[in-house]
Symmetry: D2
Subunit: 156 residues, 4 copies
């Protein structure tokens, strides 16, 4: 039996290139009007990891009263983008190239937490994964997971 360490894969890499990474993330997030529309807020920003919270809201639901997969994907995508952003150099912007999301459980509950983290930082491309949990009085449930490829570009 081989012991595999499933913990933080990034221990060696977590020194941000931009000491002002948190301010950069907050400033960019404040310009993402889609996040404000969804009621998403920043819970935490750490090197290689960003957590965003957002409430259940019926105007973003699908036909059965669960949050629409696209609303869940929206916040997961931003969590991954900003996780990548924490490790990017100053004067850069990040952009999703593609993502894939698996919907694991119905998106119901009082609210949700999208936890994006960097799997592999890169000069051009950064790969991130976001887990989305439903939150509330009871137990936290994993409702979705997203794997994203993000491009880091010099800000124009």
């Amino acid at each position: 039996m081989v012991a595999i360490h499933h913990g933080p894969l990034l221990e060696r890499c977590v020194i941000p290139q931009d000491p002002a990474y948190e301010a950069r993330v907050r400033e960019s997030f404040s310009r993402q009007r889609h996040m404000a529309t969804l009621g998403a807020t920043i819970v935490s920003i750490a090197p290689g990891e960003v957590h965003l919270a957002f409430p259940y809201a019926s105007q973003f639901c699908q036909q059965n009263g669960f949050m629409h997969a696209g609303a869940i994907a929206s916040v997961a995508d931003s969590a991954n983008g900003y996780a990548a952003c924490t490790l990017a150099p100053p004067e850069t912007d990040v952009l999703a190239v593609e993502f894939k999301i698996n919907l694991l459980a119905p998106a119901q509950g009082e609210g949700f937490l999208a936890c994006g983290r960097v799997l592999r930082p890169g000069r051009t491309l950064t790969v991130c994964q976001a887990d989305v949990f439903s939150t509330g009085p009871g137990e936290r449930i994993l409702i979705a997971t997203m794997l994203s490829t993000i491009i880091v570009r010099r800000r124009q």
Copy 2:
């Protein structure tokens, strides 16, 4: 040089199992409040293919004023889900299991068209692809493509 037919792969399969498929799609779509929130409307419903239109709107944008990838993904996901729905039996509902989207060009323009079509219908799982185009006075541009796995379930 082998000639490959890239056209409608579904010619043999387009006879819907539910003659009332269009009414079923319209009724379900009217309950998707997220689509109303995004301003999405049905452009066309045909066996195995559903087109949805939606306008550019700044409240769904990311930090640079382009529509957020999650907003684009939302309508593409619904277009694929309803494309699957047209070929599903009566008394069933469809649910996205997972999807993957590639963002191909910045989501700018007056509006957008998400064209979902069935690649392979199935009793349990249906695979669909949606192309999203920006529309406007000029040329139509492909801005995203999404591959989705959709589960067909007896309505509860």
Copy 3:
């Protein structure tokens, strides 16, 4: 700062439905001739988690002498399928519906380890993730990660 537990998500679910799950996995694996061709062997089988090892071999390489992404994907796909298999009922078989793989580093080294684990078990669909590491005298490097949707079917 919200503390998120990134550890085993499956603690509650790890009681296999089939006590003979290990024998079932070994028997099926022995019939996967593609695994024998690639030289893959079973390192460990636990409820919800299967590790497979395979050597570097030039006949499975791409143009630059790294293992071909498809060879890496082959073993990752089997690791995920057998991880799903450990939690499936007796008399069932598993089949990949789809997978997505991110290639994170060049596939070089003496050998590789593909670690598949169940993220969410289900009656019909199980979602798994496989991390692939290069192994050797030095440090273990994460070279790829795969997210898979697997269908569990009654054996025919």
Copy 4:
């Protein structure tokens, strides 16, 4: 009803930057030992589109005697990579960043055809899609489709 043109999306872009693209593809393909191992051959090379054929072979099968998903993915990945290669500048190499494949039908038959085509060429990233068909005396069946992100790099 909006008429959507599902045909060649690349009509405007098909002028290769490297007139010697075909020779470049053939030379690189000849170095992909994994393709030789699988018995894959080039059927056609055109700007933005490459077709590869490969036979059914039991040594690349899964537990039920169908070709392993990883073997199918291997050739689809190469078809997409070389499709991207036809539109890349001279002195560059292509590398898969990630791909997602949906398995649509059992991989059985005498042989298979993997048809890769560029959906969107780019300076850094090119997005391709490959359809894989089973071939034989009867009807051609779509057994898989793959969406790939490919990076174009200066050859080292």
